[in-house]
């Protein structure tokens, strides 16, 4: 589990790289930390790995305090750093074996884990090749395998699928999802919003060291983009005239073949909207939620933070 309160880091007595970050990620949950380059994601992760000491606030990772138990934290956390950080003259198997030793694994455990991870990430055939000869994606997979070598209870992953081909990205996402189901606590720093959307249970948007927004995807959408919108599509142009809408629904836009509603409580209101439309013999083809992406939430939040107009 990861718990932080007012976690802050100041550099050179004048620049706050992270300012008052409060998070709570439980085992079996994934938090995606989103933000621009230099927003404070890496500094936050480094504080959670006990690499940087907080200037203010506190953090507990896997039950340990980052300032009091740095060694215990480093033993319990698997970190995928921004740069893959591979030793280019080591082979894949040597590299995993080295980090297995660093994490104090027995020879049998090292062999088993290394072979499993190499096999899982499709690197078994390249295991005896020097990592300098690997492609970008293979390097990233080997780095991820390193982060998992000691089967950590907490994972801090910085851009886990960057530079990977679609198949490999899918593989890594599946692995992350599998790790969540085995009750790992995971934080992902990413610029890949689709990945965050598909993986994360919670999302936090960080800007200039401060958390602007955090919550589940639905909570963020509701908070930033307003209530959910639904669209009714007709088979042919249809004039509904003055439609009497139930309480909690508002007409947002209309065209010849569609109507768009903003709905506060869909479970209660939607059947009544559909009833209203069908009672007017509207040639209804579909009635469904208008898809809203994390990207919209992110871009709107960032635009507001920077004081510029958000162009949807």
């Amino acid at each position: 589990m990861i718990e932080t309160n007012d976690l802050s880091k100041q550099y050179n007595n004048d620049f706050w790289a992270v300012d008052g970050v409060t998070l709570n990620v439980q085992p079996g949950q994934i938090l995606a930390l989103l933000g621009q380059n230099g927003a404070g994601k890496t500094t936050t992760v480094r504080m959670l790995t006990a690499l940087l000491s907080p200037t203010r606030g506190w953090a507990r990772v896997a039950g340990y305090d980052v300032t009091k138990n740095p060694q215990e934290i480093r033993s319990s956390v698997g970190v995928l750093t921004e740069q893959h950080g591979l030793y280019m003259r080591m082979t894949g198997i040597e590299y995993l074996d080295f980090f297995g030793k660093v994490y104090g694994l027995s020879p049998v455990a090292r062999k088993t884990r290394s072979e499993y991870l190499l096999e899982y990430f499709g690197l078994a055939e390249a295991a005896k090749r020097r990592s300098g000869e690997y492609s970008k994606g293979m390097k990233q997979k080997l780095a991820l395998a390193r982060a998992l070598i000691h089967d950590p209870s907490v994972l801090l992953l910085d851009e886990p699928t960057s530079a990977m081909d679609p198949e490999s990205s899918r593989l890594v996402r599946d692995e992350i999802a599998r790790l969540r189901s085995s009750q790992r606590t995971i934080i992902i720093c990413t610029h890949n919003l689709a990945e965050a959307e598909s993986l994360a249970d919670y999302i936090a948007i960080i800007y200039r060291g401060r958390i602007l927004l955090k919550g589940t995807l639905d909570e963020l959408k509701r908070a930033v983009l307003g209530p959910v919108e639904f669209e009714a599509k007709f088979a042919e142009p249809f004039d509904v005239g003055e439609l009497e809408l139930p309480e909690g629904a508002a007409l947002v836009s209309r065209s010849g073949t569609s109507l768009r509603f903003r709905v506060e409580a869909p479970q209660m209101v939607n059947p009544r909207i559909v009833h209203a439309l069908t009672s007017r013999k509207a040639p209804l083809v579909s009635f469904q939620e208008v898809p809203r992406k994390l990207e919209q939430v992110y871009l709107k939040t960032m635009a507001e933070a920077q004081g510029v107009t958000y162009a949807a």
Binding site: Y11, N12, L52, Q71, R74, V79, M90, Y103
Partner: protein, 478 residues
């Protein structure tokens, strides 16, 4: 213990493997290490021929030990790159973060890298020396004794530890490999000078004198290792990306420390300076203790050993007394020949030099200057005893009147210098090496400007205008 050794070895073994897989490191090293002994052998042959024709036995006798020392140093200087890039290289390649995120302790990483940094140059150094010794064994020159060879091997080892530990300190502090390589001059050049000093010891000194060199270099190397360990922090390696010289910030920090919370000179003297003075309690005790031991040892050495070298017959003693009485008659005009401000300037300059020496050697060289002065006092008192004057009276009239101020000033400045040197090799969790250095310097200047300079000024006036009169009063028979 075993776990620690295993962790250190783990880091070291990876480094060994890594560097020996890089032909760009291995091939030049092997070529240089193999070629240089042959060049040195040929130079030895030509030097021997030259000296056999034109003379120069002193050089001829010590040529081989000298060459061995140089051959040992040569591989150290170019394999230093391994140590120089140990941390900063990993930082630039981005491989340091996974290592720092691991449960390895700081000392495991530091000592592992130090082990590789020392072993690689030493292997090449000893290898080079072995080739050279084999080559010269076939020549008609005197082969150095095993004792001499052992001393040179030890000295080479001490050089390796000194250079590598300095290089690793640089590697931890530097932000780029380029900066680290530039800073390498501050390692290679001083050690090259040191080598020249040791060469003088080999040519003109006794073999045993080399032990002092070994001891001094080992002490300095040990302090450098301690400095490196004290200031090695994971945060430091990751926290800084770009180094810029911020003179404003440097001056602001220095001023803040120097002035403290004082708003006036009086407040500074009454509130701030006592704080610094209290912090000097322990270094002052050490300095005082060492000074006492040195004065007594020097006094006893002169009293008991000088008679073995100089036959102090009554005639010789009379001659010395006559010379002294001539000197004492000139004391009345001392103020004209040696104005007080020159004495003040000289003493102040010695204090600053002592500080600079102390800062580059973590207090050791500064202490050497101080103890040298103390040894001189003991020696003068011992000499006074030998020629028949009371050492106590000599001290009370010739040293004490101005010494109350001058010695106090010297003791204070030396204690502050020792504290600054010691702080550099002590872990400072919240401060960087540069910050520690700056704050130590500010503390030293507090003592220097607030206490030492005023005391030295008073001492100079007394030394020139009061002490001579007291000596004349105390020794009217001269």
């Amino acid at each position: 213990m075993r776990r620690n050794l295993e962790a250190i070895w783990l880091v070291a073994r990876r480094e060994f493997t890594d560097q020996f897989r890089d032909w760009r490191i291995v091939v030049p090293m092997i070529l240089l290490v193999t070629l240089f002994p042959f060049i040195a052998d040929d130079t030895t042959r030509q030097a021997v021929n030259f000296m056999n024709r034109f003379g120069g036995d002193l050089i001829l006798d010590n040529l081989v030990p000298f060459a061995v020392l140089v051959i040992g140093f040569f591989p150290l200087s170019f394999t230093l790159v391994v140590a120089l890039e140990s941390f900063v290289g990993e930082k630039e390649r981005g491989t340091i973060e996974p290592l720092l995120s691991s449960p390895l302790e700081d000392s495991h990483m530091y000592l592992g890298k130090l082990l590789v940094g020392i072993t690689t140059p030493l292997v090449f150094s000893y290898g080079s020396i072995a080739i050279y010794l084999f080559l010269i064994s076939r020549r008609p020159v005197e082969f150095p004794s095993l004792y001499m060879l052992a001393l040179i091997f030890l000295l080479t080892f001490a050089h390796a530890v000194l250079m590598v530990s300095s290089a690793i300190v640089i590697s931890v502090q530097a932000t780029t490999i380029r900066a680290a390589n530039l800073l390498a001059s501050f390692v290679v050049v001083p050690v090259a000078f040191l080598l020249q000093g040791e060469t003088i010891l080999i040519f003109w000194g006794n073999e045993d004198v080399l032990w002092f060199a070994i001891l001094a270099v080992t002490l300095l190397a040990g302090l450098l290792v301690r400095l490196g360990l004290a200031h090695f922090r994971r945060e430091y390696l990751l926290g800084r990306e770009i180094d810029t010289l911020n003179f404003k910030l440097i001056w602001r920090k220095f001023k803040e420390r120097f002035v403290g919370g004082a708003h006036s000179v009086v407040e500074w003297y009454t509130r701030e300076l006592p704080v610094t003075f209290r912090e000097l309690k322990r270094p002052l005790m050490i300095v005082t203790g060492l000074a006492l031991v040195t004065v007594i040892a020097s006094y006893l050495w002169v009293v008991f050993n000088v008679p073995h070298y100089v036959n102090l017959t009554p005639e010789i003693k009379n001659d010395i007394r006559t010379q002294l009485s001539e000197n004492i008659t000139r004391l009345s005009s001392l103020g004209e020949e040696l104005p007080a401000h020159l004495v003040f300037y000289n003493n102040a300059r010695v204090m600053v030099i002592s500080l600079l020496l102390g800062l580059i050697s973590f207090g050791t060289l500064g202490m050497t200057v101080f103890l040298g002065n103390m040894g001189l006092i003991g020696g003068v008192l011992g000499a006074a005893n030998l020629v028949g004057y009371s050492p106590l009276l000599t001290f009370a009239t010739g040293i004490l009147p101005h010494g109350i101020f001058e010695l106090t000033a010297i003791f204070l400045a030396t204690a502050a210098m020792l504290k600054a040197g010691a702080l550099l090799v002590t872990p400072q969790p919240e401060k960087s090496l540069g910050e520690t250095f700056l704050l130590s310097l500010a503390d030293w200047f507090r003592v220097f400007l607030g206490l030492v300079l005023p005391l030295l000024a008073v001492a100079a006036l007394i030394e020139i205008y009061v002490t001579p009169e007291l000596i004349k009063l105390a020794f009217p028979f001269l």
